[in-house]
């Protein structure tokens, strides 16, 4: 279900028409369109947007909303190069076993971003060919960008 | 003076040749071989054959052995592991070698009696003479050799160019 204000955006309304269970919400705030995608339908949604011309994956990142569950909010920043249009897809992942499908088949650029998320947030990506730490040493313990990661004292 | 130099470089040649056989590492063996060739070149020089001496160094030491060393480096060959070898070689090797050397000495002495020492400086040395001989008397062998080399080169190119 999406808020009414988003019905004006063809991306949102068309996807909603096709499969009402894909979009879980969204907003248009400060000139940026955000669409919340339901966790189960992430890959389908990404493929759909890729087909709509959103060919450049600008970045994948996440926010840790720690005490709140589902804890992680993973965002995909897309651009449609032909139309110069940005778009943000967001998906919520629970903290117990944070897992998502890898988007490498849709956008090969997702490779390192997913490794980075795995490294710094501990979110696993199923189907990633090389899910290793990218920034930190391989024997590092913990995921520093989580809000419950200690920022002072001896780790 | 010449005799001293001859003895020095003959000694180097023999020593390097012995080292060539003794070394376990292919690079060391190759280097010893280069040493042998260098010493031989000096011996040619002492005989007054400057051209052959220079060609010896350029062709053998400078080109062929470089390729040897190149290949050894490329294959990154390690030291050889000594094998126990056959009993035959162990017990018969040195006697047979001695026999061979004796035979050689006998032959050489028969050919050139010791009172008839080969003199320095009468070798067919000068470049001009060699060039003249190559292009007059030995023209056919010379050309045949070049064709042979050409064939060999083409064969090498065909073999190397073949995709697996």
């Amino acid at each position: 279900m999406i808020p009414d204000e988003l019905r004006n955006f063809p991306e949102a309304s068309q996807l909603e028409e096709q499969d009402p269970s894909v979009l879980a919400g969204g907003q248009f705030d400060r000139g940026e369109l955000t669409l919340e995608v339901s966790r189960a339908k992430l890959e389908a949604a990404c493929r759909w947007f890729r087909g709509r011309g959103y060919n450049l994956l600008s970045s994948i990142t996440a926010t840790d909303l720690h005490p709140i569950e589902p804890r992680f909010r993973v965002v995909y920043h897309l651009y449609a190069i032909a139309e110069h249009k940005p778009l943000r897809l967001a998906v919520r992942v629970g903290g117990a076993d944070p897992r998502l499908e890898s988007m490498i088949p849709v956008w090969p650029a997702a490779n390192w971003y997913e490794r980075e998320l795995f490294d710094l947030f501990g979110i696993r990506f199923d189907g990633h060919p090389n899910l290793k730490r990218i920034m930190l040493p391989d024997d590092w313990e913990g995921h520093p960008l989580r809000k419950d990661y200690p920022t002072e004292g001896i780790r | 003076m010449d005799k001293v130099l001859f003895l020095i470089f003959a000694g180097i040649a023999v020593g390097a040749a012995a080292n060539l056989l003794r070394s376990r590492h292919p690079i060391h063996s190759a280097l010893s071989l280069i040493g042998v060739m260098g010493a031989l070149a000096v011996l040619y020089l002492l005989l007054g054959a400057e051209f052959i001496a220079a060609v010896q160094v350029i062709v053998y030491a400078g080109a062929i052995m470089v390729l040897f060393v190149f290949t050894i480096m490329l294959l990154n060959a390690g030291a050889e592991v000594p094998t126990s070898g056959s009993m035959l070689a162990r017990y018969l090797g040195i006697p047979l070698l001695a026999l061979l050397l004796l035979q050689l000495v006998r032959l050489l002495l028969g050919q050139y009696p010791p009172d008839q020492a080969s003199s320095f400086g009468t070798f067919v040395g000068p470049t001009e003479k060699i060039g003249r001989l190559l292009f007059t008397q030995y023209l056919l062998p010379f050309e045949v050799t070049s064709v042979l080399i050409l064939v060999a080169v083409m064969g090498a190119v065909v073999l190397a160019g073949r995709k697996p």
């Binding site: - | 690079i27 160094v57 060393v69 480096m73």
Partner: protein
Amino acid sequence: MDLTILIISLAKIAVVLTVLFTCVAYVVWLERKVAGRIQNRWGPHRTGPFGLLQPAADFLKALFKEDFTPAQVQRPIYFLAPFLAMTLALMSIAVIPFGENVTIAGRTIFFEITDLNIGLLYIFAVTSLGVYGIALAGWSSGSKYSLMGGLRSSAQMISYELGLGFAVVGVLILSGTLSLRGIVNAQSGFWFGIIPKWYIWPQFVGFLVYLTAAFAETNRTPFDLPEAEGELVGGFHTEYSSLKFAMFFTAEYTNMITVACLATLLFFGGWMAPLPWAWVQHVPALVLLGMAALMTRTALRTYRLERRKSYFAVPGLAGIVGLIGLAFLHPVFAAVAAPMFWFASKVFVFLFLYIWVRWSVPRFRYDQLMHLGWKVLLPVAAANILITGLVVAL
């Protein structure tokens, strides 16, 4: 053999080596100075007047640096390689004549260590061995970068050795001798009373091939692939330090001097004066006195501007140069030294060209280098031989 000849030979070797080492040191200085000017900076200028003591400082630095031997090296060869490189580089200077033989008071002075009748072949023999120093250094260092540097250099030197050899055959056909002195003597005289009969004119193509191959043979930019610092860190000398590194360095610059000498001898008439007129004999004196005057001017200006303590070093230098210049006015001294002056000037021009090119162009890629060597230089050189042979035969 006569003992005096032996002593004279040894003395000559000592003198020539001293001069050669000094030249190598100052070619390094020149390289840094010219590179500095090309890149709008000063180059060395702190040590002595015009930074002239920089080579000594460099040498001392190399001497006192820690001589580090990595653990993975193949020991005897690792130590042998720099000696090999330097010795072979120094050996080729033995047959290079620097000036005309002069007879003074019934004694002929030979301006070379030995006049070998196959001088040119000797040089090619020695330079063809030069590759061992580099190849073995690369292999024995036990580092992949060094190994690749060594391999590249072997391949490169074999390839360009051919081009180099082919390039000079034209000269050999024209001169009919392998002796370097003979080749120079064959170039005496002038066409139309003005154009010197140097082999650069009939053998221009050969000269271009020689020049290119010589760049490659001495591993200078744009052919400095064995040590391409952008790719292979330091190439074959990555793992060398201190004096062992300095030896490779010396070898490189000695080779540069050798090929420059050779180019002068083969294509530019060696020690022959470039113009036929009589006043040309005063040019050395003029040049040296002019240099002295320039130095004096610099010294005066420096003193006026900065009141530097070293202000007497530059005038001293100017005095020495001026005195040599004045000496040229004496006919006997001029007869001995003028050929050497011309020879040195021509070699200097080549060295300058080397440096100029190095700081102006990028580096070739390995396959492009091989392409150039085998598919361009070699056929061109072969065609040059063919044409020269035809022309001479007709």
